[in-house]
Each structure stands twice: as C-alpha cells, then as structure tokens.
C-alpha cells in the first residue's frame, strides 16, 4: 500500500511538473517537484526505498525528456539513497534541517546530472550554479512546506473526528 502511495505521489508530481512547466517554460520553472517527493519519501522510508523510488522516478523523467535514459535515474538514485541514509542516521524533522537536506539534495542531483552529461561530452553547461542554487532554495522551501502539510493533514482529520465525537 505504501509503495503504491509513493509511486502515485511521484506520478502526480511528474504530471504537475510537466503541466506547470508548460505554462512557465523559459528558464523560470525553478522547481523539481519529482526530486522533492523522492527526497521526502527517502527521508521517511530509508535508503533502499529512497534509491528505488529515485531510480523509478528518474527513469520515467528521462524517458519523457529527450536526454539519455539513465542519467537522471542515476542522479535521483544517488539522491534518494543519500537522503534515506541521512534520514536513518539523523533526526531530520525540524524545518531547518529539512530545508538543508532538500537544498543539498538539489545540489547533489545537479552535480551528478550535469557531471555525467559533461563527462560523456553530450552537453555543455555554461556557469549553471546560479540557477542550481535558485532551484535548491525553491525546492527547499517547497519541500519544507509540503512536508509540514502532508504531516499535519492526518492529525487535523483525527482532531476533527475527536471533536465531533465529544459533541455527541
């Protein structure tokens, strides 16, 4: 059930990513929703789940892009694994620590992604770090807010149920 929910979350993130990107194509789409979902799921589920989800999400993203299939997959596998490891070794529940994890994950993802493309001589990236940092900050903020919302929702529902029960 958890696997299905995780895969569904990634599919929704991917659909939203492509839909929103079609509205803001030219360099302004500074968020990677799929990466945010992968990092969050890795943090709460561990390194194996993180790397497997990262791998699946990255491969689908690669297949939908015009790039080499596997490069994005490998980048997200590494990020999913590292985020999962961090989640099991440290307590990463405070907003600030989560923000740092999302930020580092974005930088790591960009490094692996661009590094592989450059290494294989398939693409050149002229001074990309400004846009990577912008994206990292954006992902960090959205990741923290998204995580808080996801974790608060079930509690809200339970409290509302409890309140109704006490009234009756």
């Amino acid at each position: 059930m958890k696997v299905v929910t995780s895969l569904l979350a990634i599919a929704v993130a991917l659909a939203l990513q492509t839909t929103l990107a079609s509205l803001v194509i030219r360099g302004t789409a500074a968020l990677d929703l799929v990466l945010i979902v992968v990092v969050y799921l890795a943090l709460i589920s561990g390194p194996v789940t993180g790397l497997l989800l990262g791998s699946a999400a990255g491969l689908v993203q690669d297949a939908l892009s015009s790039g080499v299939i596997g490069i994005g997959g490998l980048a997200k596998t590494v990020v999913g694994f590292m985020a999962g490891l961090l989640g099991t070794q440290f307590i990463v529940t405070a907003p600030l620590s989560r923000f740092v994890v999302f930020l580092l994950a974005t930088v790591l993802h960009a490094s692996v992604f661009m590094g592989l493309y450059t290494l294989l001589g398939l693409r050149q990236f002229d001074d990309p770090w400004a846009s990577v940092l912008t994206q990292a900050v954006g992902n960090g903020f959205l990741g923290v807010v998204g995580a808080q919302v996801v974790e608060l929702l079930p509690g809200l529902r339970d409290r509302r149920k409890a309140r109704r029960m006490t009234r009756h």
């Binding site: 079609s22 791998s55 080499v68």
Partner: protein, 328 residues
C-alpha cells in the same frame, strides 16, 4: 523474506542500482541508430496522463475565467465591437497592401514560393526535466505527424518533432541546448548555424567578413532539410568576435516560448537541396560581397532576396504563409 534481507543491505542495493544505470547509459551512448523502445512506450503512455492533467487544469481555469469574465461583460462586448470595426478596416488595408505586394512580385518575376501544409496542435505538457526544452503536443502519428517535422508559430520557428506516439508528439524547442537550425541573416544572406542555449540562441559559423548588424532579422536557410527556408528565427541582439574567423552572434528568439499554447506542425515534405543549389547560393553571396566591397552601402528599403537566385520572399515566415488550423 528476500525484500527484508535486501532492505538490510542498502549498500548492496545501491551498488546494484548504480551498475544497472551505468549499463543502461552505456548502451544508449554507444548506440547511434533509432530511439529506445522504452522511451517511445513511456512517452506514449504518459502523454495520455499529461493530456488528462492538462484537460483538468484547463477546465478549472475555464470555470474560473468564465466566472470572472461574466462581470463587466457588456462593457467588454462594446469595446470588442469597436475593436472589431477597427480591425475590419485594417484588414481591408492589409488586403490592399497584400494585393499590391503580389503585383510587385509578379512584375519582378520572382518565383512564387510554394506554400507549406500545416497541422495545428495544442501544447499539453512542458519539459519533464528542467534541463531540457521540450514540450508535448496533442497531435501524433494518426494526424500525419512524423519525426523531424518543423514546428512553427505565428511569431516564428518553435522547433522540431523528436518523438511521436499515435496521439501525441514531443517537440524539441529551438532554444534547447541540443537543438540547431541552418540560418541566415535576411538582409545580407550570410549563412550560419543557430544553436540553442537554454533560454536564448547563438548563431555560429558566420564568416567574420560578413555584414551583420544589431537588429538584423535571422531566418531559416532551409539547408538542414527540416525547417522551410525563410521562416523567422529571431533578431541579432549582439555580435561578438568569436574564435578564429567567425562571428559569435547572440540571437533574440522571435518566439516567446513561455507563452506558447498552440503551434503549427509543417507536414509538407521539404525538397532536397542539391549541391547545384548550394553552389549557386554560394556564388550569389560571393558576388554580393564583391559588390558591397566596390560600391557604397545602400541599405534603404532594400528588397530582401533579390541578391539570390533562389530568393526568399520579403516576409515568408509564418506571419503570412501557413494557415491556422488543419492542413489545407
């Protein structure tokens, strides 16, 4: 049981996943022919999801804008009627001008440029990865869309089709870092190659001796056999001295890729350019360059295309040529 054991050995799983990815990447990098089946299949399936998502977003947007538009609709209607009248007058003026231009063209004996057939398509999704500049359109193989067909918009060249499924197609935008198109400066016919840079365009391989000015219109040269000749790409924004004997020209795209909603796919097969045509074109450019060196410049209202034996019309781009809507 096996999954429990694997989850207790994350490093092993990680190493396995990395190896699998490396094998996958290696297989593609070493292969030069064809598109991987997984790519076509995934694209075909997911384009339907993208279509559904876009339909949902569109319907929400439609309800919202429809509700907002109901307010002040009478006032807006009046304004639109006034606009319509003004536009009708302007249309008649445009028709008269077009007729005059047609007469001039016939008088000059210029060859009528063959019109192109197009299929109108709606953009249903943007790039799946931020590093790539591609989009998904709602027309595919069943609509006659094929790989390497040019995609244009009323403002100019958008890109080319890179992948098709029966009901959708992926378009690589011209600003993508892997995209390129044969191009020329419309005023001087100086040829070069326009390549994407993510958000802008760069024109390369233009000889350092060629006459290029800021604001010059850059159009397709047709030499790549993908983009029809004479379609607008953009304008020269800056000229830098490149390495060797070539200019490095920054081109401002004429298309605003962030506002694209509908595009036209050129379905007319382009005639192959023969080596004789290329030689003639090169000869014409050389003659013109010699004339420019011997004569004082006369840039006032020069008719574009008169220097070439295969001239492009004055404004052959999508503003005039291709019809909107399904192929004629």
């Amino acid at each position: 049981m096996a999954s429990v054991q694997l989850s207790q050995r994350p490093l092993l799983v990680f190493a396995g996943a990395v190896v699998l990815h490396v094998v996958l990447i290696s297989a593609q990098v070493s292969t030069t022919a064809g598109i991987p089946f997984i790519q076509v299949a995934t694209f075909g399936v997911f384009s339907e999801v993208q279509r559904g998502t876009m339909t949902s977003v569109d319907s929400v947007r439609g309800v919202w804008t429809g509700y907002v538009a109901l307010r002040d609709v009478q006032e807006e209607n009046e304004a639109l009627k006034r606009d319509l009248q003004t536009l009708q007058v302007r249309l008649q003026e445009e028709r008269a001008q077009a007729q005059r231009a047609e007469n001039f063209r016939q008088l000059l004996g210029l060859r009528e440029r063959a019109g192109v057939e197009t299929v109108a398509a709606e953009i249903i999704a943007g790039p799946a990865d931020l590093e790539f500049r591609d989009m998904t359109i709602d027309k595919g193989g069943v609509d006659g869309i094929e790989r390497d067909m040019a995609v244009i918009s009323p403002a100019g060249v958008v890109g080319r089709v890179t992948l098709t499924s029966p009901r959708a197609a992926r378009v690589q935008m011209l600003i993508d870092r892997n995209a390129a198109a044969g191009a020329m400066i419309e005023r001087t016919r100086a040829q070069g190659l326009v390549v994407g840079e993510g958000t802008a365009l760069r024109m390369e391989y233009v000889p350092g001796t060629a006459d290029v000015k800021q604001g010059d219109l850059v159009v397709t040269s047709g030499i790549d056999k993908i983009y029809p000749k004479g379609f607008v790409i953009g304008t020269v924004a800056a000229i830098e001295r490149g390495t060797g004997t070539f200019h490095e020209i920054v081109v401002q795209p004429s298309v605003d890729f962030s506002r694209l909603e509908e595009v036209l796919v050129v379905t007319t097969p382009l005639p192959a350019i023969t080596s004789e045509q290329i030689a003639k074109e090169a000869e014409a450019i050389a003659i013109e360059q010699r004339q420019q060196q011997t004569q004082p410049p006369a840039p006032q209202n020069r008719t574009p295309g008169t220097s070439s034996p295969n001239p492009a019309p004055a404004s052959p781009g999508p503003r005039n040529a291709p019809p909107r809507g399904p192929a004629a």
